[in-house]
Amino acid sequence: MPHPPTQTALADLAGLWRIRVFEETVTRLRVEERIAGSVHLCIGQEAVPVGACAALDLTRDAVFATYRGHGWALACGADPAALFAELLGRETGTNGGRAGSAYLSDPGHGFYGENSIVGAHAPIAVGAALAARYDGSGRVALAVFGDGAMNQGAVHEAMNMASAFDLPVVFLVENNRYSELTPIAAMVRDDDLVSRAAAYGMPGSWVNGNDVGAVRRVVAEAVDACRSGRGPVLVEAHTQRLVGHYIGDAQTYRPRDEVEAARATEPIVVLTSALRAAGAGDAELSAVEARARAEIAAAAVTALAAPPADPATVKEHVHG
């Protein structure tokens, strides 16, 4: 079977559940209007952050994600209570309420943040990789973005510069086949996006983004290439969101049965079946889910009890 040994797989499953439950809880808090504004969930895409972060050394590596980044923050090790608090606009949020759902960061855990400008973090990740040339850290930078971001100029410039200078960047495309409400297939001639790596003379790998073990393996190879000085790698992970682009998206642009069909191959289902096939029992599997539910529920309680961001601090930190 393609999965790693059961202990790792159980840890992976725990990682998937934590994100899934976190996002479900966010949905509830948004619907209850305790969280304000646009929220982009990664339900269905959890295997990408869980697999990729397992392949990184977050004491020195740097992750740059998009607005769809709660799962990435969690996989990096951010405290779920601090993440909830951030979404809720509380003082104890990762960013003290300044960032919100779509722009939060937690550099203490290697999470250099979400970005709400499509593709803008790709060159920033190149800069983090560039710094590794000089600071002796051995850092690898990972920039994750969507299929639609591949058509943004900044991403092109980032890939070329990283390639030309052999910089340690993993460019990871979460290809969920939609850019907001528009299918990527209508916006490119060839939706085999990994083939663009060749334009930069950069290696590219495709991976099933619903298979957490496969993601870990492919990203680990990319990180190895980076760490050993061979320069950047493009990884395309095929996956899907099981929810709308944002909370409230009616998804009228999606074929009715698409999401239903995807439920059979989504990461938690896939990994749970594999673990069952490898001998894991129902009790063991349910316990993983239950622990995640308990942890996340407690985190939400903590966050909800925190004071709101203090308006008196609003002018702080514009400059040093």
């Binding site: 919100g100 058509n151 916006m187």
Partner: protein, 328 residues
């Protein structure tokens, strides 16, 4: 006249432009099949077919595509989904669209309309919250307007589309679905330019634009109950800016305040103040700018409220402007 929302008014103006002129195109991210992320362009693809289409997430290609199509004689209307996103492709406005007519001595023109929207709404992050009209207004060759009512959302957009030069229409995300009003859709297309006096007053002239108009109108009502009469001018167009209407008003009231949601420093409020004082209008109090603090826009609603002037802040500061005079 039926009441429609601000978003519906935009939709109606687009429909009229697309119907009346076959050279009109409408394109941008998610504007066609999905009908826009805010539903503003709904049904237009169905009605106008391939003249309405979705694009890749490529703002330089969208704006550059508009410049090129306009140079060839079409009349493209493009959407930049958030004004904040214009900066990934600002070159196409400042160095391309704005130069076409001048540098060719009018042999080429760029009759294109860029629709976008701006403003902070609860939870919106620093990259989705800025009010950036001053950055467009400093570019000669671009026209810039900010409709604040459904009727203006309709009228200003049609005027923009009819203009033979590039126009940036900055709509208000917060007003799209929250503001309704009667909209006359049968009038002739207005030319660009012209402020509107929303409320006559004698003690103080307030110039504003965009959704801040409504905050100012509320503040004016508060001040009315304190016996202070506020004239409220919606600039509507900041290029061309209707200096005369403002100067006339301030000449009568002797006091000028400008209120905007953009950051204070370098905001267009400074331009308004400068134009009025340069004319030597005699003032009974120093002019006042009320604007968002010079900071990045925080997402948390409590922080946003502390950063962006609301009704009470505006009313309080306007009152302090007349207080010394009325107590004197």
């Amino acid at each position: 006249m039926a009441e429609i929302t601000y978003a519906q008014a935009v939709n109606a103006a687009l429909r009229r432009a697309l119907s009346e002129d076959p050279g009109t195109l409408l394109f941008g991210e998610d504007v066609a099949l999905p009908g826009g992320v805010h539903g503003v362009t709904r049904r237009l693809r169905r009605e106008f077919g391939e003249r309405v289409f979705d694009t890749p997430i490529s703002e330089s290609a969208i704006l550059g595509g508009a410049v090129g199509a306009a140079m060839m004689g079409l009349r493209p209307i493009v959407e930049i989904m958030w004004a904040d996103f214009a900066f990934v492709a600002f070159d196409q406005l400042i160095n391309q669209a704005a130069n076409v007519r001048y540098v060719s001595r009018g042999r080429l023109t760029a009759p294109m309309t860029v629709r976008t929207q701006q403003g902070a709404t609860p939870g919106s992050c620093a990259q989705h919250s800025q009010s950036v009209e001053a950055l467009f207004a400093h570019v000669p060759g671009l026209r810039v307007c900010l409709p604040a009512t459904p009727q203006d959302a309709y009228d200003l957009l049609l005027a923009a589309i009819g203009c033979d030069d590039p126009v940036v229409v900055i709509e208000s995300r917060e007003l799209y679905h929250s503001l309704k009003g009667p909209v006359d859709q049968d009038g002739p297309r207005a030319p660009i330019g012209g402020a509107r006096v929303h409320r006559a007053g004698s003690d103080l002239s307030v110039v504003t634009w965009g959704p801040m108009l409504h905050t100012v109108l509320e503040a004016a009502r508060v001040l009315e109950s304190s016996g202070v009469s506020v004239e409220v001018i919606d600039a509507r167009w900041i290029d061309p800016f209707d200096t005369d209407t403002v100067v006339d008003s301030v000449s009568r009231t002797g006091r000028l305040a400008v209120v905007h949601a953009a950051n204070l420093t370098g905001g267009f409020g400074a331009e308004v103040v400068a134009r009025v004082v340069e004319r030597g209008v005699s003032l009974s109090a120093p002019p006042l700018r009320i604007a968002t603090e010079d900071l990045r826009i925080p997402a948390a609603p409590a922080l946003q409220r502390a950063a962006i002037p609301g009704r009470d802040t505006v009313a309080g500061r306007l009152l302090s402007m007349v207080a010394p005079a009325t107590t004197a």
